[in-house]
Symmetry: C2
């Protein structure tokens, strides 16, 4: 399986575009992580002078933000199943999947302030699910933020773990669950008792936590 498409021929004039630059940048990021991305690396992969990129993006940071935009926009349609609980599960599961699709970009996504049309639309829709289910505005806002922060915390942790595995074993490595506790278990009885559950599959873990928060909602 080959994600890279090396270009040995000089990219012809006029073919450079934000599209092409972002696609190529995303390839670099997926292979070598954000740390492996540089204007010079991008230029090399396209066989253009690195400074040609500045025609299309003001700074490297702008380019990374545009990549983060792609990640956060998401590709899956908003759920409309008729069951608010199922739709809520699916909404945050989608957010998780978006963040994990390009795990090394997850930190870049986090350091952006919330926003963007696509993001507002999803937020509006999600709060709508809660309000339509009968929750007062205050509770609906609180529930939304709790679910969002839980999903962010979990997904960023999982993305960190996935990115670290990829960095060690290459982009096609299978990611194993977080190994639980290395220190002497005898000193930490409560850790020892729950070690098996703490080291569960990240996806199972995510859904159980989501279920816990949703259970508090009385929808």
């Amino acid at each position: 399986m080959e994600t890279a498409q090396p270009r040995h021929t000089r990219t012809p004039r006029g073919t450079l575009s934000q599209q092409l630059l972002l696609d190529t940048a995303m390839e670099i990021v997926d292979i070598g992580g954000v740390g492996g991305f540089s204007m010079r690396a991008l230029g090399a992969r396209l066989n253009i002078d690195p400074t040609a990129v500045y025609r299309h993006f003001r700074t490297k940071n702008d380019l990374l933000e545009a990549l983060a935009d792609r990640v956060v926009r998401g590709t899956e349609p908003l759920p409309h199943s008729g069951s608010p609980l199922a739709d809520l599960r699916e909404t945050f599961a989608q957010l998780r999947r978006s963040l994990l699709r390009h795990p090394t970009l997850a930190p870049v996504v986090l350091r952006r302030p919330p926003g963007g049309e696509a993001s507002w639309e999803r937020t509006n829709h999600t709060i709508g699910l809660l309000r339509d289910a009968g929750m007062p505005d205050h509770e609906a806002a609180n529930a939304f933020q709790t679910l969002l922060f839980y999903t962010l915390g979990h997904s960023l942790t999982e993305a960190r773990h996935t990115a670290a595995t990829i960095a060690r074993k290459g982009p096609d490595a299978t990611v194993t669950p977080v190994t639980a506790i290395s220190p002497a278990a005898s000193r930490y009885p409560h850790l020892a008792a729950t070690a098996d559950h703490l080291a569960a599959e990240m996806e199972t873990q995510f859904h159980e936590g989501l279920g816990l928060v949703l259970a508090a909602l009385a929808i």
Copy 2:
């Protein structure tokens, strides 16, 4: 208020230590953010050659990890009030405060895998609170992780906002709540209805979300 202590005199031989280097590094980070920290900046502030630092830390990354260690270790004692609910609230409130004490280091903390003696001890203690309150192991593990990920997501978001404010207005700026929704509210009725609550004080918001999760626990 002056956090910086400029050194015009050459630091004498033999006074360099991990202690002094970390203290100075933390000053730089608190003033200019992680982005403003470099081995050369550290050398300049101590009036030593930048490469002298390599006697005490193998790489810049090791030094940043040591800073993150300080942040995550926390200074406050584990709560033992007798009320498990109150202790749980306090435990995660402590984690939040630790992360916010040096907001620009929060992303560095996140990209570390969990661990360290101090961290295991806190984890063990927290899971103990849940088990001693009668929760079965599986539920206790699940509840702990949910509370942890919620706290991480919220604190990292708040830290990002705080760090951005400091970067714009200097280290002594007062951090205002996140301003809610800029886009045309008419297009997003559910956002408009809950805008006031979404823009609440971050601390209030945090405790309400924590309360929501804790309410699901039936302790």
